[in-house]
């Protein structure tokens, strides 16, 4: 077997709130002890497999900020109405579930990212929510308006259910789609739609006095002219590859007020250890918040296997142990140390 190849993308990030020319001045987001919670769809769900977003943020905050933890509540195909989270019920049950998860994860900072699922499904519909399903299939304007109304309700839900620890909500526009050439479909039109959704999300952030990260613009969505991506950052024009996620993570960090620098040697073993601990922690957390067999453990067949639900909280100490490793690896990264 090959040795695992390091993806050489993260070019190191500084923590001193440096200002990039194109962006408005932004104060760095994170403080010691912050709990970041990610709420979104496929982009975030798959981020757990690569560990890039958290690893990047852990380093970007610099050595002075300590004890950052992250909980990823991303769910493939989810919408602002909570479609993917609902299991057997209507999407409103998905929102109930999200509310419960937010309460359990006690976030200080919630990063929200939606929009791809909606922009790509204009004219087809993208939610099962009975009150909105028809509008989501009725053209771009109707679809966007329903999206933004749902998004605003979601922000309200996050505010209400995250508990007193909540300090900031950040809206993140989806990154752009790519053209990879035939036989994959051309995404020019979808990118145009995505820009319209992005504009709406930006206005929504402004209206609600929230931070906004324009991943779409930062990753070239506005200058996209239908060209075939080289090199491709996505697997299929939509979903970012491991290399793509490194860029997403870097741009996200920039959008949150962190600037590029060159302090960190990404080839340090400690860097890979940090990323590995992040991925392992996310794996444990996945089994914790989205366990398999929920029908038997918690839902209408719990009289059969509910006795085994006691195992699920037993992932908590495993998560805490990995977080300790994350903090240690992070310290070594900053110290420029290697394990040996």
């Amino acid at each position: 077997m090959k040795s695992p190849s390091f993806i050489t993308v993260l070019s190191g990030l500084l923590t001193f709130g440096g200002i990039l020319s194109a962006q408005e001045p932004t104060a760095p987001l994170l403080q010691s002890g912050d709990r970041i919670v990610l709420v979104g769809n496929t982009l975030f769900e798959r981020a757990r497999l690569f560990g890039q977003i958290e690893t990047t943020l852990q380093i970007a905050t610099g050595p002075e900020v300590k004890g950052i933890t992250l909980r990823n509540l991303g769910w493939s195909g989810d919408s602002v109405f909570g479609d993917s989270r609902s299991y057997f019920g209507p999407p409103s049950e998905g929102r109930d579930r999200l509310a419960r998860n937010l309460g359990e994860t006690t976030p200080s900072v919630v990063l929200i990212s939606y929009g791809t699922e909606a922009a790509m499904s204009v004219d087809q519909g993208w939610t099962e929510d009975a009150a909105h399903a028809a509008a989501t299939a009725a053209g771009i304007e109707a679809s966007r308006d329903v999206f933004l109304a749902g998004y605003e309700a979601l922000i309200e839900l996050v505010r209400k259910t995250s508990g007193e620890s909540l300090r900031e909500i950040v809206l993140i526009s989806p990154p752009p789609l790519e053209n990879l050439g035939a036989p994959l479909p051309d995404q020019t039109e979808n990118n145009r739609r995505l820009a319209i959704f992005r504009d709406g999300i930006r206005d929504l952030a402004k209206k609600n006095s929230l931070r906004f990260v324009d991943l779409f613009a930062q990753m070239g969505g506005d200058s996209f002219k239908g060209e075939v991506a080289k090199p491709a950052l996505t697997e299929d024009g939509v979903h970012y590859s491991e290399a793509g996620h490194a860029i997403v993570a870097r741009e996200l960090a920039k959008g949150l007020g962190y600037s590029e620098g060159s302090l960190i040697d990404r080839n340090l073993p400690a860097y890979e250890e940090l990323k590995a601990a992040v991925i392992e922690k996310d794996r444990f957390f996945f089994h914790r918040w989205r366990p398999a067999n929920e029908t038997y453990l918690f839902l209408f067949r719990k009289h059969e296997q509910g006795q085994n639900a006691k195992e699920i909280p037993m992932f908590d100490p495993l998560i805490v142990a990995e977080e300790k490793k994350i903090e240690e690896a992070r310290t070594r990264v900053f110290a420029g140390m290697t394990r040996n």
């Binding site: 077997m1 090959k2 769809n41 496929t42 769900e45 798959r46 497999l49 769910w75 493939s76 195909g77 989810d78 919408s79 479609d83 993917s84 609902s86 299991y87 057997f88 791809t116 699922e117 790509m120 499904s121 087809q124 993208w126 099962e128 036989p183 994959l184 479909p185 995404q187 697997e235 299929d236 024009g237 939509v238 979903h239 590859s241 794996r283 089994h287 989205r290 366990p291 398999a292 067999n293 929920e294 029908t295 038997y296 839902l299 209408f300 067949r301 009289h303 059969e304 296997q305 006795q307 085994n308 195992e311 699920i312 037993m314 992932f315 495993l318």
Partner: protein, 1151 residues
């Protein structure tokens, strides 16, 4: 003295504390011998077959799925992690490659390709790597440096649900067109972001996915555990279900089957009442015996066997006939869960190897769950050469195209997958110059070229269009299926579909409709409805048309506001009924009035539809039609029923003179009277009160009519009804039936008033039995249980009637605990716990094993008093309310069986949960949701009755933790009887006397109930009198035993000549064409008279004979027998020797 078993249990339990059984399921004491020899010795094979071990642990443990690569290596996924990862456990499930390098039929090399998976449930090599279902994701794993170990891992799709790990995405297969087909089961909710938009599948169903375009689309929905999918030679799809029990299912685009959430209509499988299956494969190629070639092999993992089915064409779909088993085993851990033809032409079987199959029912951490063993078996056939697999990797493109026409399905599929890896230009050039190999049907060859072009993503649309002119309907249907996938971008598709709609063959029409459903033309429905013309519509084509009328409703409803957008009124009626909305009502009603819709089915259709969607004026038009001079009585009955439905479900009545109803209250016809009585109440026709009162008081003579009149009186309501019922119930001189009905009626009006009357009436219940359903009336009302328990406060009841009440209340979905307590107090019944301690359970299991007699147990199972047969079928013979028991013994441990008999609510089979629907008016309905649409929900209750409930009336709708099966059904048994019963259940499905044989025994019968006229008439006319249509003969359902026999001794005694006593039974078969039909009869033939229609068939002496029915008129044939009791006749079996294409068996509900 008969000491009831329940008393004994109760006694024991008063002594000791009750321990939960959930951690003490020790039913399976004898873990089967894990040695390979033990399994080898336990196989029974179809004639001429041999079996050998291809691979086993440690190379494979608990295999869940397998597929071959183009090099002839077998890729197997296995999951010791199943059913649930433990905290701290590594994700170490694996993919192993098994290779037979020297061709001796045994894998001599195994390589772990990946060892870092989480409950993988499907594996499919291709495209230079392997696709794997890994819980929430489809992964593509690749080896980039040639050591057969994956070093690249990419997520291809994500968002699959994991609500139940035996429902995870599964059953990957390459289609002939080069797409990946994959299935998910009932509890899985999937949300994919594809480059074409979000795709969601909430519940079971099947996807197709083209890797190079990343397009994933839903093909069909439903099935409980859709664990098998195979293509026949012409590319049609057949699926099996691990829990649905309808054998082979024919599926097509947008078809919907059992368990699909929110489905308002579902299609049946082709083998109702068959065992449940995991996997399915077509037996193909030169090594397979001629008699088996083309058969579908479906592993019955519960029964440790592999069933075989033969398909024959029938209308737009197929009939499927079960033939002999390919292999069966008495080894309880043999769990065949996948079957695939191999490169050498042999049959390969993945044996999950586990004594426990259950998921929910057995604890995840039960130590008997095997996590270490797994077997791959190989079946070969004597006298048939094995096939030499071609070297596909080295073959030229031209050779690969020849191989894609091989007689072996394996070679064809692998060649297609290899062609996908080649330069498309080179393949296309080879395709253009390819010639059909000798012996290959030119249409099949042309079709395979089309498929290959699709596999390259260079669809040969012209080739597909040309196939539509084939003389073979299978080629035409297949061409349409090839066109279907990309029809939306194919400019020819509309014209081709239009041509298909007029095709003489219904299956081609069905695919024409499927193609139309993909198109955006405004005329799709108009074109599709042409399929109604000139042929007999069957259920599958009907479904496809129904579906497109709904899906494309916005394309025709505007035009239907004022006119008829379709070719004729019949088409319009079909469309509006499918849509189930008030569209084109004036046109339809006017057509009804002018006689344009004359058939009974059309009148029923109009009436049913208007009752659901029509206005008061529309209802009046319908009413007028029924009142028309010369209206057919059948039409009048239909219309009154429809008006009654509209009245009760929609609170709507005709806008006209409703008093004209009175003439129907004089009707001698029960159905007409019942509807009229109900309407008189709903329409508040005071003038009808006297007539209804008279009919009610006549209930002791005509109960059915009396009950119908009562419903009318209740609906009419008011003090007159209340006073009348109060007086009857309080009058101890009244007939007991009348008093009971009065209590029931009063309870429906006001449960508190009913309860005041109930105690006195229940106290006088004859033999302590609730003969007329007083308890049911209270349990069917939200306030009822509380009202009755209040009334019982301080009262006493005879113990027997109180017990009957406890039993009914204990199985009520509302869990009326206060009522149970009140009944126990009133009847001075000690609380009876039906749970055993672990020690008692162990002792009982020992007795089942040593003393239990399954033959005695079957007799007990069939006793009317136990009611097992009323709700449960065995192999399709029996009721449909509870799960089919066909292989319960092979799949459930003994402790599970005991526990389920004593405490039915403890473990409830998936799909059999009770839903409790409570209405705003307090009425409640408990049962299974049969179907639903936007307006109504249909709940099937514990006696199989379907209740239609308007959704607007529903206050709450929840899944109840209570089983529909009442506890205490076995309380009447002695302990020895209980032990025999458990032993019988524990043998069901295991190899031996209680595995339902695949012979086509007639299992559905009716038996004649004793009748006063038989004794005299038989003296004059002989047993032929039983074939006559005597109107007051009463026939009760009876099912054959597991072995297929009708036990004559069990049948009611019919008086014959002198002291002769007879058992009489009849059944039906459906014969396709005139000509001979062969039957085999067994039993003591000398004492048996058998009739075909009214013609007696001479019986020889002896115990077995084959006879030939001479069928002159095709269609339904009646068979009647009379067996002379008491001289050793025992069981009679009647087996149909012709297959389903010649003669279909008829189920009781269609008698």
């Amino acid at each position: 003295m008969k000491l009831s078993f329940s008393n004994r249990v109760a006694t024991i339990l008063t002594l000791g504390a009750i321990t939960s059984l959930s951690h003490a399921q020790n039913g399976l004491r004898d873990i089967p011998d894990t040695a390979v020899e033990a399994q080898l010795n336990a196989f029974k094979l179809i004639e001429g077959a041999k079996i050998n071990l291809f691979a086993s642990e440690p190379a494979v443990a608990n295999p869940t799925h397998m597929n071959w690569d183009q090099r002839g290596r077998l890729w197997v996924v296995s999951s010791p992690l199943y059913p649930h990862i433990q905290p701290g456990q590594e994700e170490q499930d694996k993919i192993v490659i098994l290779e037979d390098t020297n061709g001796d039929g045994v894998a001599d090399k195994h390589t772990d390709f990946a060892t870092n998976l989480h409950i993988p449930t499907a594996v499919l090599p291709g495209d230079g790597g392997v696709y794997v279902a890994n819980s929430v994701e489809v992964l593509f794993l690749r080896d980039t440096d040639g050591d057969d170990v994956a070093d690249e891992r990419k997520v291809v799709l994500s968002g699959f649900g994991t609500e139940d790990t035996h429902h995870l995405l599964h059953t990957f297969r390459w289609g002939p067109e080069g797409m990946i087909w994959m299935n998910q089961s009932i509890y899985i909710h999937t949300h994919l972001e594809t480059p074409y938009g979000v795709r969601r599948l909430l519940g079971g169903g099947m996807w197709h996915f083209r890797p190079e375009t990343r397009r994933a689309e839903v093909f069909m929905k439903g099935l409980v555990n859709s664990w098998g999918h195979v293509f026949d030679e012409w590319g049609q799809s057949f699926m099996t279900d691990g829990a649905g029990g309808q054998g082979i299912n024919y599926v097509f685009p947008r078809s919907v089957f059992l368990s699909s959430p929110g489905a308002s209509r579902i299609l049946p499988g082709l083998n109702p009442g068959q065992p449940k299956h995991c996997g399915v494969e077509a037996l193909t190629g030169r090594h397979v015996p001629d008699t088996l070639r083309g058969a579908l092999a479906a592993p019955d993992f519960r029964g440790s066997r592999i069933n075989l089915f033969q398909l024959t064409d029938k209308g737009s779909a197929y009939t499927s006939t079960q033939i002999a088993d390919l292999v069966s085993s008495t080894h309880g851990a043999f769990r065949p869960i996948d079957v695939k033809m191999g490169p050498d032409g042999a049959v390969y079987i993945a044996d999950w190897y586990n004594p426990i199959i259950q998921h929910g029912e057995v604890d995840f951490r039960d130590p008997r769950r095997d996590h270490a063993h797994g077997r791959i078996w190989r079946i070969t056939f004597d006298g048939k050469e094995l096939v030499k697999a071609p070297d596909l990797v080295k073959a030229s493109e031209a050779d690969l195209i020849q191989h894609s026409n091989a007689p072996e399905g394996w070679t064809r599929e692998a060649a297609t997958v290899e062609l996908r890896a080649r330069q498309p230009e080179a393949v296309q050039a080879a395709l253009e110059s390819a010639r059909a190999p000798a012996g290959v049907d030119p249409d099949l060859f042309a079709l395979r070229k089309v498929w290959t072009s699709q596999a390259l993503h260079r669809f040969d649309a012209a080739g597909a269009a040309a196939l539509l002119s084939s003389s073979n309907h299978k080629a035409r249907a297949a061409a349409l299926r090839a066109i279907y996938y990309d029809a939306a971008t194919n400019p020819e598709a509309l014209a081709l579909a239009e041509k298909a709609i007029a095709d003489p063959h219904p299956q081609v029409r069905l695919w024409g409709v499927s193609v139309l459903a993909q198109l955006s033309s405004p005329d799709t429905v108009k074109i599709a409805l042409g399929a109604l013309e000139g042929i007999e519509l069957d259920e599958f084509l009907d479904f496809a048309l129904w579906s497109i009328c709904r899906e494309h409703a916005d394309r025709w409803t505007a035009a239907a506001q004022t006119g008829n957008p379709f070719a004729n009124t019949t088409q319009l009626l079909f469309a509006v009924r499918a849509l189930n909305q008030a569209v084109a009502v004036p046109q339809i009603l006017s057509a009804l009035g002018s006689g344009e819709l004359p058939s009974d089915a059309q009148v029923t259709g109009v009436a049913d539809w208007i009752s659901k969607v029509g206005s008061a004026a529309d209802l009046n038009a319908l009413f007028e039609f029924a009142l028309t001079e010369g209206a057919k009585p059948a039409h009048q009955t239909t219309i009154l029923q429809a008006l009654a439905n509209a009245g009760s479900l929609r609170k709507l009545k005709p806008a006209g003179d409703t008093a004209r109803l009175s003439r129907f209250l004089q009707s001698p016809d029960l159905a007409t009277f019942t509807s009229a009585a109900s309407l008189a109440g709903l329409w508040k026709l005071e003038s009808a009160r006297e007539g209804l009162r008279a009919a009610f008081l006549n209930a002791p003579t005509d109960e059915a009519k009396g009950r119908a009149a009562l419903e009318g009186l209740i609906a009419l309501g008011g003090p007159p009804t209340a006073t009348m019922l109060d007086e009857i119930a309080k009058n101890a001189q009244s007939d007991y039936l009348l008093r009971s009905l009065a209590v029931i009626g009063r309870t429906k009006m006001d449960p508190n008033e009913g309860a005041k009357l109930a105690v006195a009436v229940l106290t006088e219940a004859p033999q302590g039995k609730d003969l007329h359903g007083i308890f049911d009336a209270f349990l069917a009302n939200k306030q009822g249980p509380v009202a009755l328990s209040n009334a019982l406060s301080g009262a006493t009841l005879p113990q027997a009637i109180a017990l009957a009440g406890v039993q009914k209340a204990s199985s009520a979905a509302t869990k009326p605990e206060a009522l149970v307590a009140a009944l126990q107090k009133a009847g001075t019944i000690k609380p009876m716990k039906m749970a055993l301690t672990p020690a008692e359970m162990e002792a009982m299991m020992k007795q089942v094993a040593t003393l239990g007699d399954p033959h005695a147990g079957e007799v007990i199972y069939r006793r009317a008093a136990l009611q097992c047969v009323v709700c449960h079928a065995i192999g399709g013979a029996g009721g449909v309310i509870g799960p089919d028991m066909v292989s319960i013994g092979a799949s459930a441990p003994v402790d599970y069986l005991i526990e389920s008999l004593l405490e039915p609510s403890k473990k409830i089979k998936e799909g059999y949960h009770t839903t409790l629907v409570t209405l705003k008016n307090g009425d409640s309905f408990a049962g299974a949701i049969a179907r639903e649409d936007t307006n109504e929900l249909v709940v099937r209750d514990a006696i199989g009755k379907e209740n239609r409930i308007p959704k607007t009336e529903i206050a709450s709708n929840q899944i109840s933790p209570v089983s529909l099966m009442p506890p205490g059904l076995t309380a009447q048994l002695r302990e020895d009887e209980f032990i025999h019963l458990v032993r019988f259940l524990s043998e069901l499905g295991k190899d031996g006397d209680f595995k339902t044989p695949s012979n086509r025994f007639i299992r559905h019968w009716q038996t004649l109930m004793p009748h006063p006229s038989t004794r005299d008439r038989i003296g004059h006319y002989g047993t032929k009198i039983f074939t006559e249509a005597v109107s007051d003969y009463s026939w009760a359902p009876v099912y054959a035993t597991v072995a297929g026999a009708v036990p004559v001794g069990e049948l009611p005694e019919i008086e014959g000549r002198g002291k002769n006593r007879l058992g009489v039974a009849r059944t039906f078969i459906e014969v396709k064409n005139a000509g001979p039909v062969k039957l085999r009869i067994t039993g003591k033939l000398a004492d048996l008279d058998l009739f075909h229609g009214d013609t007696e068939i001479a019986m020889p002496d002896g115990a077995e004979t084959e006879i030939t029915l001479d069928v002159k008129e095709p269609g339904r044939q009646k068979l009647t027998f009379a067996g002379l009791k008491g001289y050793g006749i025992e069981g009679v079996t009647v087996e149909v020797l012709d297959d389903a294409s010649r003669a279909d068996l008829v189920e009781l509900n269609n008698f």
